[in-house]
């Protein structure tokens, strides 16, 4: 095994010499090893919020069912064709909405959460060590198991890593080669959504429509960001994003109402309309941008480079 002659047996490993094959190779570290320090996170959603959401959903369902039952009863008892048609359209609307939601839920479930990778990356960046970057690459490889393009890039990064590269080096390289190009597409998408939201709100005649426009664009934006990064946000983050969207939509409706009142009260209605609408559009654009950045932060699997 060791080549050192018996008469001069050294005491220290550093003084010994071995031929290749004398010592067995060590096993690679497991990806599932627990992290030594894992901070406990608070519960995702508190029970009053859950109760509020659940109640709102149930109320909406009861309204729809009540409406459907009333229409059907009226169609049967009074032979009203109009009520029958309305019932059919309502059933079609509910059915197609549920089908769309089911499809989105299936797509959502297929995407994995970025939370585990982000937690590991933040932990490694805090420790500032060397040698654990391969675990991060392994975790990302598992997350993007269904995405051959990203897996190919992960393979190239993995091949480029050397033992002297620190964990911070690995995170930098992953960001540069894989996630910064995604960031560019995401930023572009966020800017376009903010512009669309501001134009949409400026063009809408009614505050309720403003809220719908903002809601629709926001949901579409979050969906697009998930598609760009190939990952979804965690359950905890869903509540943050939804509350941000609901706040944005409802405050837009309130803002539109205030602008309408101001327009009616103002002497120069045209000037008031222009200024009010422009101001409203700016605020909506800024809020949509902020939502996009929040969603991007939650979906992105690694901390963004400073």
């Amino acid at each position: 095994m060791s080549m050192t002659p018996q008469a001069e047996t050294p005491r220290r490993l550093v003084d010994m010499e071995f031929r290749p094959g004398d010592l067995p190779p060590a096993d690679a570290p497991s990806l599932d090893e627990a992290l030594p320090e894992v901070t406990t996170r608070p519960p995702a959603i508190r029970w009053p919020a859950k109760l509020a959401l659940g109640s709102a959903g149930l109320l909406l369902l009861l309204f729809v069912v009540d409406g459907a039952v009333s229409l059907l009863r009226s169609a049967i008892e009074q032979g009203s064709l109009l009520d029958l048609a309305q019932f059919a359209v309502l059933v079609a609307l509910v059915g197609s909405t549920l089908w769309l939601l089911a499809g989105q839920a299936r797509a959502y479930a297929r995407l994995k959460s970025a939370e585990r990778a982000r937690e590991l990356a933040e932990h490694l960046a805090r420790l500032g060590g060397v040698g654990s970057g391969g675990r991060l690459v392994g975790v990302l490889d598992a997350l993007y198991a269904g995405n051959p393009e990203v897996r190919g890039k992960l393979g190239a990064v993995s091949a480029a890593l050397q033992p002297q590269h620190t964990d911070a080096d690995v995170i930098d390289l992953l960001n540069r080669e894989i996630f910064v190009p995604m960031d560019r597409r995401a930023d572009d998408r966020i800017q376009r959504a903010a512009l669309r939201a501001s134009l949409g709100v400026a063009a809408c005649p009614h505050p309720a429509l403003d809220a719908l426009v903002v809601l629709g664009i926001s949901v579409a934006l979050v969906k697009d960001l998930m598609q760009i990064y190939g990952l979804r946000h965690s359950a905890r983050a869903v509540w943050r994003i939804i509350s941000h969207v609901l706040f944005s939509a409802s405050s837009t409706a309130v803002m539109s109402t205030v602008v309408e009142f101001a327009m009616k009260a103002a002497q120069d209605r045209l000037a008031a309309a222009v200024v009010g609408t422009a101001g409203e559009a700016l605020v909506v654009a800024r809020r949509t941008f902020a939502l996009g950045m929040l969603a991007k932060e939650e979906i992105r699997p690694l901390p963004a480079p400073r």
Partner: protein
């Protein structure tokens, strides 16, 4: 062709012409002088060879070769040229040495030489991009014997101050036995006696022998004058001088025609050469690479390591002193980028690189880093990687090892170099340190690597830091 399309064609041709003229004009050319600084055997020659070769091959290389040198995507073309007035650095010969059937490390550098790397690239900056998509940058790399660097502190000292420092060193525990023949001869010398050339040559030769023995027998690096410590360099006996603290300069200087006056004259002539060297290499400096072989000094022991620390501190103080007093106050006078590299990082396992960098920071000192450059970076570097890192099981534990060909051997072995300290050890800690840092032969790469990047440790980070 319609009038509008004719106008469009004419406008396009005009813009193309302007762009071509701009490309050829000095406005699109930048020149940076990179001084590769380092003491003897710190790896300057291999660094310059690997640096120039990396630039030549970087553009076509896969990402895995230079993962932390993304600026290479801007490189269009690289040319190696001579620097006017400076002997050419023997790049092809050095590369052949490394890629031959039986590769060897380059012999110690004995003279000044330089290499100009002309890079045509696409990173032109926002303003220039309006006119042209290409720019040319010349990098002047200068190689010189590391011993010459040790002469720089002499420029900031009088003959008497220098003599006092050298006599104190010669009387220290680690050098006294080597210095005894010279000390005995110089104690018997009367500086006021009439000039006697043979006697000066005899004592000068004894002093030079003492310097050579310090280098060769004790691996001590702080030896002055540095040119006297080059074993292969022939020194004119009429130019030899030595420290003698009883000789004063200025108003109380020795009378003409005496031994003391001769020493002062020879000392002044020597400093003229040193000043010329300093101006040629370090004047108009934009970027600097300081290479430090900490590992060899660590392996030699406490004396050698302390000596290295003294040498680096003296050199860093000299750099500060030698700048014009006014310039010292101005932030623009500082070097733009200073890369400090602890070389031969492939002689320890990768998990020790952080300790190596921290040790380098400790020995150089933060004040020097802040005062010398606007941006400074510390790295553990191996210009040509001679070992492979691997993990082997020892007593059931995964232990990092190095695989390579130890110096003087012809077979591949697995070695465990141990743990190096992350700060300068105190005197009583030296006995407890657990490392054994070996030297390695160059890796057997072969001629196939003439057009491929050489294996390295963090050379890409140095390139990115200096160029991007």
């Amino acid at each position: 062709m319609t009038p509008f399309s004719r106008l469009r064609t004419a406008a396009g041709s005009t813009l193309d012409g302007i762009a071509a003229a701009f490309d050829a004009s000095p406005l699109s050319q930048r020149r940076h002088r990179i001084a590769v600084t380092g003491l003897q055997r710190s790896g300057k020659t291999v660094f310059i060879t690997a640096f120039a070769h990396a630039l030549r091959t970087a553009a076509q290389a896969p990402m895995a070769s230079f993962p932390f040198f993304p600026w290479r995507t801007h490189v269009r073309d690289v040319e190696l040229l001579e620097i006017p007035g400076v002997p050419r650095f023997p790049f092809e010969e050095r590369l052949d040495q490394l890629l031959s059937e039986q590769p060897t490390w380059p012999a110690p550098t004995t003279g000044l030489s330089g290499l100009r790397v002309r890079i045509r690239h696409g990173d032109v900056g926002l303003l220039r991009s309006a006119l042209s998509s290409n720019a040319t940058t010349d990098l002047d790399l200068i190689d010189y014997p590391g011993e010459w660097l040790l002469d720089l502190p002499m420029l900031t000292q009088s003959f008497r101050d220098w003599s006092l420092q050298m006599e104190e060193l010669a009387n220290s525990a680690g050098r006294h036995d080597l210095a005894t023949p010279w000390l005995d001869a110089v104690h018997a010398l009367d500086p006021g006696a009439p000039e006697n050339q043979p006697e000066l040559a005899r004592i000068g030769t004894l002093y030079r022998d003492y310097l050579l023995r310090c280098r060769q027998e004790r691996s001590l690096c702080f030896v002055q004058p540095g040119r006297f410590a080059l074993a292969d360099e022939t020194v004119d006996p009429a130019a030899l001088f030595f420290p003698l603290s009883s000789v004063r300069s200025g108003l109380l200087s020795a009378k003409r025609g005496t031994m003391g006056a001769a020493l002062l004259r020879r000392h002044a002539d020597y400093l003229k050469r040193v000043r010329q060297f300093y101006g040629e290499v370090f004047g108009r400096l934009g970027k600097q690479v300081l290479l430090v072989d900490l590992l060899s000094a660590l392996q030699q022991g406490h004396e050698a390591f302390a000596d290295l620390g003294l040498a680096i501190r003296s050199i860093s103080d000299a750099f500060d002193e030698l700048r014009h007093p006014l310039l010292r106050l101005l932030p623009i006078a500082r070097v733009d980028r200073l890369a400090l590299a602890a070389t031969k990082a492939d002689h320890v396992t990768a998990d020790q690189h952080a300790n190596l960098v921290n040790l380098l920071r400790d020995i150089v000192g933060e004040p020097f880093l802040q005062a010398t450059a606007r941006q400074s970076g510390l790295m553990a570097v191996a210009s040509v990687k001679a070992t492979t890192d691997l993990k082997l099981k020892v007593n059931g534990l995964a232990t990092p090892f190095l695989r390579g060909i130890p110096a003087g051997r012809d077979e591949v072995l697995d070695l465990q170099p141990g743990v190096i300290p992350g700060t300068i050890p105190t005197a009583d800690q030296w006995g407890e340190l657990g490392f054994n840092i070996r030297r390695f032969e160059p890796p057997p790469l072969g001629p196939a690597f003439r057009d491929r990047p050489l294996p390295h440790v963090n050379l890409d980070k140095v390139l990115q830091f200096l160029l991007a």
